[in-house]
């Protein structure tokens, strides 16, 4: 039962870290919105899905790559990858702002109950995924290979592939940039202030609506970046991939203490590794079940997350 895990421990670990970083970025979408609104951004999974399509559209339709064309090299490679990343982020970021505008804003202004907001958010996520289903005719969409999956080196029997390395480093860089932004920028401070005490933030001259829109935007950008990395590694998407990703990333956010950016980092990596190891032991079909069980256990026994409480005090 454990042979696979032992045999391939290091390659699994590397895959787990790459997957973990994707989770980190998506769970930022959950955690940041939760921080300011104390509500789950239910549509984040679909925002991710739209990002993955943004990535594919860029390479396929803008740069004209097909399943059979040769991978890019040199400056062209950098250009295409960078465009894909930007497009994915832009699509996801705009989608997130749209979600806030359509599903959350009006209800928030009215001060209607949480159940209504939650249902409204579920509604918008259905709209997003169904729209894509109709656009793609329910078919999976493969991504042309832009980045050749060269094996760079071998460490302890594990192949280190280029796409994995790019994912790990670039995702980590984006994460740290975001963390800096929230910690140091004026808007970031406003976001933190709102998440700690909404009224006090307003009294300091913070424009609540702008902060909330920005938060959705930033969360969407991170989630979109994850969409790009996901495509780079897995080279495939479908209208319904958001669901499993959303469950996992949400679990990661909760694991690290939802509302807490650093927590998303630890939670994402932890869950990425756990998922890869668990699949090696139990089989990939039970991956989602593992994630779910982790989620329930954490919510029941450590609702503030494994990695310490969120920095913010929870509002009553």
């Amino acid at each position: 039962m454990f042979e696979v895990l032992i045999d391939q421990f290091w390659s699994l670990t590397i895959a787990g870290v790459a997957l973990g970083f994707i989770y980190v970025l998506v769970s930022l979408g959950y955690t940041m919105v939760y921080g300011v609104l104390r509500m789950i951004n239910f549509a984040n999974s679909e925002i991710f899905m739209w990002g993955t399509f943004g990535t594919i559209v860029t390479s396929r339709d803008i740069f004209g790559y097909s399943q059979t064309s040769a991978p890019a090299t040199g400056p062209k490679l950098a250009l295409v990858l960078f465009s894909q990343l930007l497009m994915s982020m832009a699509v996801a970021g705009l989608t997130a702002v749209f979600v806030e505008f359509v599903a959350y804003r009006r209800l928030r202004a009215k001060g209607t109950n949480r159940l209504a907001t939650l249902i409204s958010a579920i509604g918008i996520s259905i709209v997003l995924s169904e729209l894509m289903r109709l656009l793609t005719d329910s078919r999976p969409v493969g991504s042309p290979r832009v980045l050749e999956k060269i094996i760079l080196t071998e460490v302890w029997g594990a192949n280190i592939r280029l796409d994995t390395v790019v994912t790990i480093f670039a995702a980590a860089a984006i994460y740290f940039l975001l963390e800096r932004f929230v910690k140091l920028s004026r808007m970031g401070k406003a976001i933190r202030a709102v998440s700690m005490n909404e009224d006090a933030a307003k009294l300091m001259g913070v424009n609540l609506n702008r902060v909330i829109t920005t938060t959705f935007l930033v969360g969407g950008l991170a989630t979109g970046a994850a969409g790009f990395f996901y495509i780079t590694v897995f080279e495939y998407t479908k209208f319904n991939i958001g669901f499993t990703m959303g469950m996992a990333a949400f679990t990661a956010a909760v694991l690290g203490g939802i509302g807490n950016i650093r927590g998303a980092f630890y939670g994402g990596l932890f869950l990425g590794l756990l998922e890869v190891y668990a699949s090696a032991v139990l089989g990939t079909q039970w991956k989602a079940v593992t994630v779910f069980i982790v989620l329930v256990l954490v919510l029941l026994f450590k609702p503030n997350g494994l990695f310490g409480e969120a920095v913010q005090t929870t509002r009553a």
Partner: protein, 239 residues
């Protein structure tokens, strides 16, 4: 500069919390609103700072009706509130909290050091704790931080909501002394308090609020001697 609240009505859902209240605060005054729990004092302050929408009435500041201006813009006009229950940012350091008080200012860098010094002068304790997270301060220190942070916005009118709440007697006296000191630097103060004794001693004028209505308005010193007020709010009435 003068703050005038005219015939203010506020509803919470279907319940009318403020039933046609008018209050005037002149420049340089300390005006206090006293009343029992649930009389509507905090609601009054929140409508002035903009945290709470009003049903009808007017809030006139510097001759302009600001009742529709959103809260974050009222800070620019010079209205600042130190919220009840010391609404500081617990995850930020003392310094970061104070810096948030300059959030709305375009030229924050220029004013920052000067105003920080002023706050530290009033509350030397805060200077000792600059690097500490707000949430780890004691109750009295959090209250100081909330007031200090409000002062960082350079308010014309400072709204104080129950500054003595939950403080030890010695600390209460200290906070009220500082309130007078702040007032002497030219800041007008609207103070909401349950500790009527202290509030009336410090204030120039006072309003008594009962279940959403003003039942009395007078010079603070007169109310201190008013037997009915003494009985109801000072607990020292003749009986």
């Amino acid at each position: 500069m003068r703050l005038e609240i005219k015939d203010l009505h506020v509803h919470y859902g279907k319940i009318e919390a403020i039933k046609g209240v008018s209050v005037i605060v002149n420049e340089g005054e300390i005006v206090t609103l006293i009343g029992a729990n649930g009389a509507g004092k905090t609601t009054m302050l929140k409508t002035v700072s903009g945290l709470r929408p009003i049903t009808s009435g007017q809030i006139i500041f510097d001759g302009k009706d600001i009742s529709k201006v959103p809260a974050h813009e009222r800070v620019d006009l010079g209205i600042s509130q130190a919220p009840e229950g010391r609404g500081i940012f617990p995850g930020m350091t003392v310094l970061e909290n104070l810096e948030m008080g300059k959030f709305h200012r375009k030229n924050r860098k220029a004013e920052m050091q000067e105003d920080l010094e002023k706050v530290y002068h009033l509350f030397p304790r805060l200077k000792e704790r600059v690097g500490q997270a707000g949430g780890t301060l004691s109750g009295g220190e959090q209250q100081m931080l909330a007031i200090g942070r409000a002062l960082m916005t350079r308010p014309k009118v400072l709204l104080l909501d129950e500054p003595s709440m939950g403080l030890a007697p010695q600390m209460i006296a200290n906070i009220f002394r500082i309130i007078t000191e702040i007032n002497k630097t030219g800041v007008t103060i609207l103070l909401v308090e349950q500790n009527a004794q202290q509030a009336l001693q410090r204030a120039h004028r006072a309003y008594i609020l009962e279940t959403g209505n003003i039942v009395k308005e007078a010079k603070a010193s007169d109310l201190l001697d008013d037997p009915a007020v003494r009985e109801a709010y000072l607990g020292t009435g003749a009986h």
